[in-house]
């Protein structure tokens, strides 16, 4: 079976852990438990008739307290950039992490996810703010770890892109 390493990148509390949890177990928890260190999960998928094992590296959020170690990105075939649609500042963090990924592993496929789309009333991130990232992503999608909206599709799209590249 083909194995692919995928990194989850984004500021803290944007929902990386929740997205992975939703993908793997179909569950969601409102309780915020910050991720300490790297968390590794795996998920087997079948994409375009190919069985695939995704090894998901959930890299703790990048902030003043913890910096993502570039070495963790090594060997990734793709990554998922997560932005919290209700927090503008997470756009900037995503931008920085994207640059770090480019520098470390080169132009591998990535998807850009605007998470927490269930919170439409609190939504503040407009598409022009993320246009730079959108242009390069193989998929830009509004998703919700809470409702599951768009989650599986996002992982499938990235897997497909990784298989093709």
């Amino acid at each position: 079976m083909i194995q692919k390493k995928i990194c989850m990148l984004g500021g803290f509390a944007v929902g990386k852990t929740s997205l992975v949890k939703r993908l793997i177990s179909g569950m969601f928890s409102e309780k915020y438990l910050t991720t300490v260190g790297v968390k590794i999960d795996q998920k087997s998928l079948s994409v375009c008739g190919q069985d695939l094992l995704l090894v998901l590296w959930d890299l703790y959020g990048d902030d003043d307290f913890q910096k993502v170690r570039a070495s963790y990105l090594q060997g990734a075939s793709g990554y998922i950039l997560v932005i919290d649609g209700t927090r503008k500042e997470t756009v900037e963090v995503a931008g920085k992490l994207h640059e770090l990924a480019r520098k470390t592993i080169g132009p591998v496929p990535f998807v850009l996810l605007l998470n927490k789309h269930d919170l439409v009333n609190e939504w503040v991130v407009e598409s022009p703010m993320v246009s730079d990232l959108s242009d390069q992503a193989c998929l830009v999608s509004m998703v919700s770890a809470k409702t599951g909206e768009g989650v599986e599709a996002a992982f499938s799209a990235l897997s497909e892109a990784m298989l093709k590249s």
Partner: protein, 595 residues
């Protein structure tokens, strides 16, 4: 084993899994930790612990890093950083791998932390939660701000829409706050008021509006009444060089806050003009008045103006006889020719004769040149013979002949000259009585009163007093440059309405001018009025008090004008001839009058 290393069993105190890297294998040293095998390996009991490295995605990754570090010859240790891998080690288990070197030997130490052994977790958790909640608060503020902003924009939009509708309906809007200060003026209201809104905002209507204070007060008072008792307040704004604007002001409570008031202004100027046409004129060729008697006069003037016959205009002094004569002339086919008024009172025979008919040089003493009389000067036009009752008999005779023959002879000449002049006569004396006394020729009377017009005295048309006062007030206010005076106090008007006005309209005009000159406030008070009006009771013209009062008034006027009679006459509101007659009647001597 080297003696310098402690017994590997000592390492068990760390509860760690320790591997020694040899060639391609990982051999574990010492005792296995309590947590081995981890949940992911429990099915495979015989698996050598070294296989754990192959099963962990993270360890494989880390060993690349460790390899580089071992090769680099750096001292110390190489740490993997914390990680978890639930599928292999179980939920809530965090591990850390450390690569060390001792001489040429390479070791990997694998430590496991349960939730209780990770002091960094709660700290990090707290810090991030705080940051999140702060961010949430900021977001909420921003959201509320944005919401308020858009709500404000929306309500402004709605207000603009309402205003546009009101403007479209021709309704001006003014809003007053609880203190009755103006807080808002719509575009249409600005247009109707023709005023700078900055002058009005923050002030009351009395202070800021271009309305007469009395009107502003009425509008404000209407707002204090309960809604059911309110009525529309008519407000007329007279403007310099422009026709007056008639407004109807409706006073309403602000439905959102009944302490506030909304005024709706409707321009009814057109309606007002129509109404005036329906009700009839309040003004006619400078004659002011709308009472039935005056309307009859206007109508009669219209009728007889076009008939080319003499007219006798009969009315007390100051009733406006000359204005009637002018109107008759204006409305007649003669209006493009001269109109000449001649006062027949107070002139000697020869002087009046020469004035009317002209004279030849040397005709009498002082006739130093040929002189054309009024009859010739007025050729084609109209001649008004005022105070005709005072005309000397000899002149009456000549006049009668002129009227019959249509020709005059200048004094000192014998040649008749054709004249084409319409004669109007005015009198304040009952001519029939003069005929009876033998001082007026009956045939002349019949001749000049082919058509007759009687002007009512002011006391018989008191209803016109407010109209007349307003007209004179506005005129004099401008003429005297007393624009700061804005109106008349109601008590002033009361006096006017009660006074007997022996001098009629002319006296009223003079009284107003007097009051305006004396007025020091914004409103004409009764104390500003001439003395005879200060103490008004329903007076009778012939009351001795009034007479004496009038005597004093005439003396005052003469004193004020330094003996100039014409000016004094004006001041007391009498025609010159009446004034002269009063001087005689009141026994005011030459000496007294020039004091």
């Amino acid at each position: 084993m080297s003696g310098s290393l402690p017994d590997p069993s000592f390492l068990s105190v760390f509860d760690a899994l320790i591997f020694q890297k040899t060639a391609e294998r990982f051999d574990h040293l010492g005792d296995l930790p309590s947590w081995f095998p981890p949940p992911g390996l429990r099915q495979e009991i015989d698996l050598p612990p070294g296989q754990l490295v192959d099963r962990s995605f993270f360890l494989q990754h880390f060993l690349h890093e460790a390899e580089e570090w071992w090769e680099s010859g750096k001292r110390g240790q190489c740490k993997s950083g914390l990680w978890s891998e639930p599928a292999l080690f179980g939920e809530d288990v965090v591990l850390e791998a450390t690569a060390v070197r001792h001489r040429s030997l390479r070791y990997v130490i694998l430590q496991r932390f349960g939730p209780d052994f990770l002091p960094i977790q709660p700290l990090l958790q707290k810090a991030r939660e705080e940051q999140l909640s702060h961010r949430q608060a900021v977001n909420q503020h921003e959201r509320i701000e944005a919401q308020l902003g858009s709500r404000l924009a929306k309500s402004e939009q709605e207000r603009d829409d309402v205003m546009a509708v009101l403007d479209g309906l021709g309704l001006g809007t003014i809003m007053l706050n609880a203190n009755r200060d103006v807080t808002f003026i719509s575009g249409k209201a600005r247009e109707l008021l023709q005023t700078d809104p900055a002058r009005m905002i923050g002030r009351t209507l009395v202070e800021g509006s271009p309305w007469k204070p009395a009107d502003s007060v009425r509008v404000e008072e209407m707002g204090r009444l309960p809604g059911s008792q309110r009525q529309v307040v008519p407000v007329v704004m007279d403007r310099k060089n422009r026709s007056a604007t008639a407004l109807e002001v409706e006073v309403q409570d602000d439905p959102r806050d009944p302490r506030k008031t909304i005024l709706l202004l409707k321009d009814v100027s057109e309606m007002e003009a129509l109404r005036r046409q329906l009700v009839g004129p309040t003004q006619f060729h400078n004659l002011v008045g709308k009472c039935p008697a005056m309307r009859a006069v206007y109508e009669r003037i219209g009728d007889i103006a076009v008939v080319d016959v003499p007219v006798l205009i009969d009315g007390e002094t100051g009733t406006g006889k000359e204005l009637v004569a002018r109107a008759l002339h204006q409305l007649s086919p003669r209006h493009e020719h001269p109109f000449l008024p001649v006062n027949c009172a107070g002139l000697t025979d020869s002087l009046l004769g020469s004035q009317l008919f002209g004279h030849k040089r040397g005709a009498f003493t002082g006739a130093t040149s040929d002189h054309e009389g009024f009859f010739e000067s007025a050729e084609g036009g109209t001649l008004l013979l005022d105070e005709i009752g005072d005309m000397p008999l000899s002149i009456q005779t000549t006049l009668l002949r002129v009227l019959q023959e249509g020709e005059i002879i200048r004094l000192g000449e014998s040649r008749p000259r054709k004249v084409n002049v319409r004669v109007l006569a005015a009198t304040n004396q009952p001519l029939q009585e003069l005929v009876d006394k033998g001082v007026f020729r009956a045939d002349l009377l019949y001749r000049i009163r082919v058509a007759r017009l009687r002007l009512p005295p002011l006391r018989e048309r008191r209803e016109d007093i407010p109209l007349l006062s307003t007209a004179f007030f506005e005129k004099s206010r401008v003429a005297f440059g007393k624009m700061q005076v804005l109106g008349m106090a109601p008590e002033t008007m009361q006096r006017f309405l009660r006074y007997s006005w022996p001098g009629n309209v002319r006296e009223l005009q003079a009284a107003l001018e007097y009051a305006l000159i004396h007025c020091r406030s914004e409103i004409i008070l009764p104390t500003d009025l001439p003395p005879e009006l200060c103490d008004v009771f329903p007076a009778v013209q012939s009351s001795p008090f009034l007479k004496s009062n009038e005597r004093q008034r005439i003396l005052d006027a003469l004193a004020q004008t330094k003996g100039k009679r014409a000016q004094a006459a004006k001041l007391v509101g009498m025609s010159r001839s009446t004034f002269y007659r009063r001087l005689t009647e009141l026994n005011i001597s030459q000496e007294e009058s020039s004091r």
